[in-house]
Amino acid sequence: MKMIQAVLDGSATPEELEHFKDNIEVCKPCIEGYELEKSIKESLQTKVEKKCCPKQTFEAIKLKIGIASLLVLGLLIKIKVIKDLFFC
Protein backbone atom coordinates (compact mmCIF):
# COMPACT_ATOMS: atom_id res chain seq x y z
CA MET A 1 0.00 0.00 0.00
CA LYS A 2 2.93 2.37 0.65
CA MET A 3 3.97 1.81 -2.96
CA ILE A 4 0.47 2.60 -4.26
CA GLN A 5 0.46 5.79 -2.19
CA ALA A 6 3.90 6.75 -3.48
CA VAL A 7 2.66 6.32 -7.06
CA LEU A 8 -0.38 8.50 -6.36
CA ASP A 9 1.81 11.08 -4.64
CA GLY A 10 4.18 11.24 -7.60
CA SER A 11 7.08 10.18 -5.38
CA ALA A 12 7.52 6.53 -6.40
CA THR A 13 10.94 5.32 -7.52
CA PRO A 14 11.27 4.15 -11.17
CA GLU A 15 11.39 0.53 -9.91
CA GLU A 16 8.21 0.99 -7.88
CA LEU A 17 6.49 2.59 -10.83
CA GLU A 18 7.44 -0.31 -13.08
CA HIS A 19 6.30 -2.86 -10.49
CA PHE A 20 3.02 -0.98 -10.11
CA LYS A 21 2.36 -0.95 -13.87
CA ASP A 22 3.18 -4.64 -14.18
CA ASN A 23 0.89 -5.74 -11.37
CA ILE A 24 -1.98 -3.29 -10.93
CA GLU A 25 -4.26 -4.92 -13.50
CA VAL A 26 -4.01 -8.42 -12.06
CA CYS A 27 -4.36 -7.46 -8.40
CA LYS A 28 -7.97 -6.72 -7.45
CA PRO A 29 -7.23 -5.52 -3.88
CA CYS A 30 -4.55 -3.24 -5.35
CA ILE A 31 -7.05 -1.67 -7.77
CA GLU A 32 -9.58 -1.16 -4.96
CA GLY A 33 -6.89 0.25 -2.71
CA TYR A 34 -5.67 2.56 -5.45
CA GLU A 35 -9.15 3.89 -6.18
CA LEU A 36 -9.89 4.46 -2.50
CA GLU A 37 -6.58 6.24 -1.87
CA LYS A 38 -7.20 8.36 -4.97
CA SER A 39 -10.69 9.41 -3.88
CA ILE A 40 -9.46 10.35 -0.38
CA LYS A 41 -6.60 12.37 -1.83
CA GLU A 42 -8.97 14.15 -4.21
CA SER A 43 -11.39 14.88 -1.38
CA LEU A 44 -8.60 16.44 0.67
CA GLN A 45 -7.50 18.53 -2.29
CA THR A 46 -10.90 19.73 -3.43
CA LYS A 47 -13.28 19.60 -0.46
CA VAL A 48 -11.25 20.84 2.50
CA GLU A 49 -11.51 24.61 2.62
CA LYS A 50 -8.25 26.41 1.94
CA LYS A 51 -8.04 29.26 4.41
CA CYS A 52 -6.65 32.48 3.01
CA CYS A 53 -4.50 34.87 4.98
CA PRO A 54 -6.70 37.67 6.43
CA LYS A 55 -5.98 41.08 4.93
CA GLN A 56 -5.12 42.51 8.37
CA THR A 57 -2.46 39.86 8.90
CA PHE A 58 -0.99 40.53 5.47
CA GLU A 59 -0.91 44.26 6.21
CA ALA A 60 0.54 43.67 9.69
CA ILE A 61 3.45 41.69 8.23
CA LYS A 62 4.14 44.35 5.61
CA LEU A 63 3.99 47.03 8.30
CA LYS A 64 6.36 45.19 10.62
CA ILE A 65 8.85 44.66 7.79
CA GLY A 66 8.44 48.35 6.89
CA ILE A 67 9.15 49.39 10.47
CA ALA A 68 12.16 47.10 10.52
CA SER A 69 13.45 48.82 7.39
CA LEU A 70 12.93 52.26 8.95
CA LEU A 71 14.83 51.16 12.07
CA VAL A 72 17.72 49.91 9.94
CA LEU A 73 17.68 53.16 7.96
CA GLY A 74 17.60 55.16 11.20
CA LEU A 75 20.52 53.16 12.56
CA LEU A 76 22.55 53.73 9.39
CA ILE A 77 21.86 57.50 9.52
CA LYS A 78 22.80 57.56 13.20
CA ILE A 79 26.10 55.77 12.51
CA LYS A 80 26.84 58.19 9.67
CA VAL A 81 26.09 61.22 11.86
CA ILE A 82 28.32 59.89 14.66
CA LYS A 83 31.10 59.23 12.15
CA ASP A 84 30.74 62.76 10.69
CA LEU A 85 30.75 64.36 14.12
CA PHE A 86 33.60 62.50 15.74
CA PHE A 87 35.83 61.16 13.00
CA CYS A 88 35.97 63.96 10.45
Binding site: M1, K2, D9, L36, S43, K47, K50, T57, I65
Partner: protein, 204 residues
Protein backbone atom coordinates in the same frame (compact mmCIF):
# COMPACT_ATOMS: atom_id res chain seq x y z
CA UNK B 1 16.78 32.45 19.25
CA UNK B 2 18.99 31.86 16.22
CA UNK B 3 18.07 29.91 13.16
CA UNK B 4 20.05 26.85 14.25
CA UNK B 5 17.64 26.54 17.15
CA UNK B 6 14.91 26.73 14.58
CA UNK B 7 16.35 23.65 12.94
CA UNK B 8 17.90 25.43 9.97
CA UNK B 9 21.43 24.79 8.85
CA UNK B 10 23.54 27.85 8.43
CA UNK B 11 26.18 27.30 5.81
CA UNK B 12 29.39 29.30 5.59
CA UNK B 13 28.66 30.04 1.96
CA UNK B 14 25.36 31.75 2.67
CA UNK B 15 24.69 34.86 0.63
CA UNK B 16 24.93 38.35 2.01
CA UNK B 17 22.08 40.40 0.65
CA UNK B 18 21.97 44.17 0.62
CA UNK B 19 18.99 45.81 2.37
CA UNK B 20 17.20 46.43 -0.92
CA UNK B 21 17.84 42.82 -2.04
CA UNK B 22 16.33 41.55 1.21
CA UNK B 23 13.07 43.41 0.63
CA UNK B 24 12.98 42.31 -2.98
CA UNK B 25 13.39 38.64 -2.02
CA UNK B 26 10.86 38.99 0.78
CA UNK B 27 8.25 40.47 -1.55
CA UNK B 28 8.89 38.33 -4.59
CA UNK B 29 9.77 34.95 -3.07
CA UNK B 30 8.15 34.86 0.37
CA UNK B 31 4.93 36.87 0.19
CA UNK B 32 3.36 34.88 -2.71
CA UNK B 33 3.16 31.85 -0.36
CA UNK B 34 1.28 33.67 2.38
CA UNK B 35 -2.09 31.98 1.77
CA UNK B 36 -0.60 28.48 1.77
CA UNK B 37 1.39 29.40 4.89
CA UNK B 38 -1.71 30.69 6.65
CA UNK B 39 -3.66 27.58 5.71
CA UNK B 40 -0.84 25.40 7.09
CA UNK B 41 -0.71 27.47 10.30
CA UNK B 42 -4.47 27.22 10.69
CA UNK B 43 -4.53 23.46 10.11
CA UNK B 44 -1.74 23.00 12.66
CA UNK B 45 -3.22 25.19 15.39
CA UNK B 46 -6.94 24.81 14.65
CA UNK B 47 -7.31 28.40 15.79
CA UNK B 48 -7.43 31.61 13.75
CA UNK B 49 -5.70 33.81 16.34
CA UNK B 50 -2.89 31.32 16.85
CA UNK B 51 -2.56 30.91 13.09
CA UNK B 52 -2.22 34.69 12.68
CA UNK B 53 0.45 34.90 15.40
CA UNK B 54 2.31 31.88 14.08
CA UNK B 55 2.28 33.28 10.54
CA UNK B 56 3.55 36.68 11.63
CA UNK B 57 6.30 35.14 13.76
CA UNK B 58 7.34 32.93 10.86
CA UNK B 59 7.58 35.81 8.41
CA UNK B 60 9.53 37.91 10.89
CA UNK B 61 11.98 35.02 11.38
CA UNK B 62 12.19 34.50 7.63
CA UNK B 63 13.17 38.15 7.19
CA UNK B 64 15.59 38.07 10.10
CA UNK B 65 17.39 35.02 8.73
CA UNK B 66 17.02 35.85 5.07
CA UNK B 67 20.77 35.40 4.51
CA UNK B 68 20.25 31.68 5.15
CA UNK B 69 17.96 31.52 2.12
CA UNK B 70 19.57 30.92 -1.24
CA UNK B 71 17.72 32.96 -3.84
CA UNK B 72 16.14 30.79 -6.53
CA UNK B 73 15.81 27.71 -4.31
CA UNK B 74 12.52 26.37 -2.94
CA UNK B 75 11.20 29.31 -0.90
CA UNK B 76 7.92 27.60 -0.07
CA UNK B 77 9.63 24.56 1.49
CA UNK B 78 12.05 26.86 3.36
CA UNK B 79 9.17 28.90 4.80
CA UNK B 80 7.13 25.82 5.69
CA UNK B 81 10.11 24.44 7.59
CA UNK B 82 10.44 27.62 9.65
CA UNK B 83 6.69 27.63 10.34
CA UNK B 84 6.71 23.99 11.39
CA UNK B 85 9.68 24.56 13.72
CA UNK B 86 8.09 27.70 15.19
CA UNK B 87 4.94 25.72 15.83
CA UNK B 88 6.83 22.96 17.63
CA UNK B 89 8.98 25.35 19.66
CA UNK B 90 6.49 28.06 20.54
CA UNK B 91 2.91 27.04 19.92
CA UNK B 92 2.50 23.35 20.43
CA UNK B 93 2.46 23.57 24.23
CA UNK B 94 -0.01 26.41 24.38
CA UNK B 95 -2.14 25.19 21.49
CA UNK B 96 -5.84 25.32 22.12
CA UNK B 97 -6.41 21.96 20.51
CA UNK B 98 -7.84 19.20 22.72
CA UNK B 99 -5.61 16.69 24.47
CA UNK B 100 -3.45 14.87 22.00
CA UNK B 101 -3.05 11.18 21.46
CA UNK B 102 0.39 9.97 22.43
CA UNK B 103 2.40 9.82 19.20
CA UNK B 104 4.37 6.70 20.10
CA UNK B 105 1.19 4.94 21.10
CA UNK B 106 -0.44 5.76 17.79
CA UNK B 107 2.65 4.66 15.87
CA UNK B 108 2.70 1.37 17.77
CA UNK B 109 -0.97 0.68 17.16
CA UNK B 110 -0.60 1.29 13.45
CA UNK B 111 2.79 -0.31 13.09
CA UNK B 112 1.17 -3.55 12.03
CA UNK B 113 1.70 -5.78 9.00
CA UNK B 114 0.45 -4.79 5.56
CA UNK B 115 -2.17 -7.57 5.62
CA UNK B 116 -3.62 -6.46 8.91
CA UNK B 117 -3.77 -2.88 7.65
CA UNK B 118 -5.64 -3.99 4.58
CA UNK B 119 -8.20 -5.79 6.69
CA UNK B 120 -8.80 -2.76 8.86
CA UNK B 121 -9.15 -0.19 6.09
CA UNK B 122 -10.73 -1.73 3.01
CA UNK B 123 -14.20 -1.59 4.51
CA UNK B 124 -14.41 2.12 3.64
CA UNK B 125 -16.38 2.56 0.44
CA UNK B 126 -15.25 4.92 -2.29
CA UNK B 127 -18.83 6.17 -2.80
CA UNK B 128 -18.99 7.15 0.86
CA UNK B 129 -15.82 9.22 0.53
CA UNK B 130 -17.11 10.85 -2.65
CA UNK B 131 -20.40 11.74 -0.97
CA UNK B 132 -18.77 13.40 2.02
CA UNK B 133 -18.82 17.16 2.27
CA UNK B 134 -15.74 19.25 3.01
CA UNK B 135 -16.59 19.72 6.69
CA UNK B 136 -16.64 15.99 7.29
CA UNK B 137 -13.29 15.46 5.59
CA UNK B 138 -11.85 18.47 7.44
CA UNK B 139 -13.14 17.17 10.77
CA UNK B 140 -11.54 13.79 10.15
CA UNK B 141 -8.28 15.55 9.27
CA UNK B 142 -8.45 17.84 12.32
CA UNK B 143 -9.04 14.82 14.54
CA UNK B 144 -5.64 13.34 13.71
CA UNK B 145 -2.65 13.81 16.02
CA UNK B 146 -0.65 16.80 14.79
CA UNK B 147 2.32 14.81 13.44
CA UNK B 148 0.04 12.72 11.26
CA UNK B 149 -2.07 15.71 10.29
CA UNK B 150 1.08 17.54 9.21
CA UNK B 151 2.21 14.92 6.69
CA UNK B 152 -1.23 14.75 5.11
CA UNK B 153 -1.47 18.53 4.81
CA UNK B 154 2.00 18.76 3.29
CA UNK B 155 1.45 15.92 0.83
CA UNK B 156 -2.23 16.01 -0.13
CA UNK B 157 -3.16 19.66 0.35
CA UNK B 158 0.10 21.43 -0.45
CA UNK B 159 1.46 18.88 -2.92
CA UNK B 160 5.01 18.62 -1.58
CA UNK B 161 7.11 15.66 -2.74
CA UNK B 162 8.45 13.15 -0.21
CA UNK B 163 11.89 14.67 -0.65
CA UNK B 164 10.62 18.16 0.16
CA UNK B 165 8.65 16.83 3.13
CA UNK B 166 11.77 15.11 4.46
CA UNK B 167 13.56 18.46 4.41
CA UNK B 168 10.67 20.38 5.94
CA UNK B 169 10.20 17.85 8.74
CA UNK B 170 13.89 17.01 9.12
CA UNK B 171 13.27 13.27 8.93
CA UNK B 172 14.43 10.58 6.44
CA UNK B 173 12.27 9.87 3.36
CA UNK B 174 11.55 6.37 4.70
CA UNK B 175 10.02 7.91 7.81
CA UNK B 176 7.95 10.27 5.64
CA UNK B 177 6.53 7.28 3.79
CA UNK B 178 5.79 5.31 6.96
CA UNK B 179 4.24 8.27 8.75
CA UNK B 180 2.11 9.14 5.76
CA UNK B 181 0.97 5.55 5.47
CA UNK B 182 -0.05 5.41 9.14
CA UNK B 183 -1.64 8.85 8.97
CA UNK B 184 -3.78 7.71 6.05
CA UNK B 185 -4.84 4.57 7.88
CA UNK B 186 -5.93 6.68 10.83
CA UNK B 187 -7.75 9.07 8.51
CA UNK B 188 -9.54 6.15 6.86
CA UNK B 189 -10.69 4.94 10.25
CA UNK B 190 -12.16 8.36 10.97
CA UNK B 191 -13.78 8.60 7.55
CA UNK B 192 -15.20 5.10 8.03
CA UNK B 193 -16.88 6.26 11.25
CA UNK B 194 -18.46 9.18 9.38
CA UNK B 195 -19.52 6.87 6.56
CA UNK B 196 -21.17 4.57 9.08
CA UNK B 197 -23.01 7.50 10.63
CA UNK B 198 -24.15 8.50 7.12
CA UNK B 199 -25.76 5.08 6.76
CA UNK B 200 -23.25 3.42 4.47
CA UNK B 201 -22.99 -0.27 5.16
CA UNK B 202 -19.51 -1.64 5.66
CA UNK B 203 -18.16 -3.87 2.94
CA UNK B 204 -17.16 -6.77 5.16
Amino acid sequence: MDLEEEGELIEDTRPRYSESEKYKIFDKEFMPHIDSMYNFAFRLTNDEDDANDLLQDTYMKAFRFINSFQEGTNAKAWLFRILKNSFINDYRKKSKEPSKVDYQEVETVYNSTEDAEYESTTDLRIEAVQDMIGDEVAMALNGLPVDFRTVIILCDIEGFTYEEMAKILDIPIGTVRSRLHRARNLLKEKLRSYAKSMGYKELR
